[in-house]
Subunit: 228 residues, 2 copies
DNA sequence: TCGTGCATTCTTGTCTGACAATCTTAGGAC
DNA sequence: GTCCTAAGATTGTCAGACAAGAATGCACGA
């Protein structure tokens, strides 16, 4: 179940390309929180038909990168404290299961190791956006390495929102650049040692730290807007 | 986060209604494994426009109730052994987290208790289809009671396939009708006792039993087709 | 006889244009 | 100032159309 080597060639579909482009703009904060995204606006910006824009919006909505209800326009969500906690609870559930399963085999996934190196470089050079990308890639690689298509799909369902919050609040900037890399290293070490409990433990600590940074940043941001 | 009491009135959207109808037909085995579902066929059967049918197909595909790749017709998937294992691994991950969280509060969700009663009735009267519905409702209620929107969405992503396999193989029929109810009762008891580990344990046992029944039935079915 | 290659046909991807239903917003009446 | 109504904006759905990719069957050659 592990050697599913498929070479992915770029999105050939117009909808795919549109979806990818908008996704990047949202997670990088280029389209800010609370911004409205109408079907006609997208269709106009990219010069595609409205149904195409509609399809892209629907896919983004499915991943939590947009919110919308019937007959209302899609907006980039603003995650409050409770939602960030919910997000990290869900994330913890999936990723704990993933690292435990990996530690049971004792194999450190190559993709995760590569992402780890990328994080170290990005941290050293203060390339914030790259660091976020690599961080997401690291966690995604861990889940993917389990070889469970459904686990990966569930992870995909929430990692978009994680990416979104990291891009918006840029909490990583607040952390000592090497902290994240060290926590990741501890997780990989536990996997290599074949210790599922330790791996889950290190992962839990890492995610709690990340969540803490995020909540702190969120608090500061709201203080700035409403200074008592 | 628990009192989100919204009354759901029938799907007002045409796409929603279509989606719901096809979903039911698939999970009940009315549309058999391997059956092809073209956009025009759906559009014709329900007398809707092709884009509407397309949207419904895409949503079903997202939930794993259909498989399709670009330019190819959607088909009702045939799950093999490996995929059923993957499905139950993913399911176990989510539901274990759910019952553990519930047991931490010690509150038995009312919806789950209701579904449990419905299962007992259905088992007594041998109403197979109701039994499956109630079983799905039981597990869904457990997850929903945690109050995590994202956990529920992830669960939704896989429970459709569970429903599908149960409808197709009708493995519940093979089980002593009361077995399922008893296993469920043990889970609820552990939650009520506020014992997270026991709850997870009972859930794991229950799901392993269910998976075992499914794999056995699958094996028998393939033996019938290819009798050595 | 069997395999290869081509053409037809089916199906999906995307577009244009349109109308109805619904939500939002602005303006007017009290 | 508040409430209600109406116009504008936005989405839901439809019809019809064309292009591109995939699948199928048939003829041809080895």
């Amino acid at each position: 179940m592990s050697t599913e080597a498929r070479l992915e060639l770029g999105p050939s579909s117009l909808t795919d390309a549109l979806y990818e482009s908008v996704r990047k703009r949202i997670v990088n904060g280029e389209i800010p929180q609370g911004e409205k995204l109408t079907e006609v606006r997208l269709a106009g910006e990219y010069n595609v038909a409205r149904p195409t824009a509609k399809a892209a919006l629907e896919r983004l909505t499915a991943l939590g990168l947009l919110r919308r209800t019937a007959h209302k326009t899609a907006v980039v969500p603003v995650l409050d404290q409770a939602e960030i906690r919910d997000l990290f609870f869900s994330r913890m559930t999936i990723e704990k299961a993933a690292v435990s399963a990996l530690a049971a085999t004792g194999e450190v996934p190559a993709d995760a190791a590569r992402a780890q190196v990328a994080i170290e470089y990005a941290a050293r050079d203060r390339l914030f956006e790259n660091q976020v990308e690599a961080d997401i890639a690291f966690h995604t690689a861990l889940v993917a390495a389990v070889g469970s298509r459904r686990l990966s799909r569930m992870h995909e369902l929430i990692i978009g929102e994680v990416h979104l919050t990291m891009g918006q609040y840029q909490a990583h900037r607040k952390a000592a650049p090497t902290t994240v890399a060290e926590e990741h290293a501890a997780i990989l070490k536990a996997i290599e040692d074949g210790n599922p409990d330790a791996a889950a433990e290190h992962l839990a600590y890492h995610l709690e730290q990340a969540q803490g940074r995020l909540l702190t940043t969120l608090q500061q941001a709201s203080d700035e807007v409403v200074p008592q």
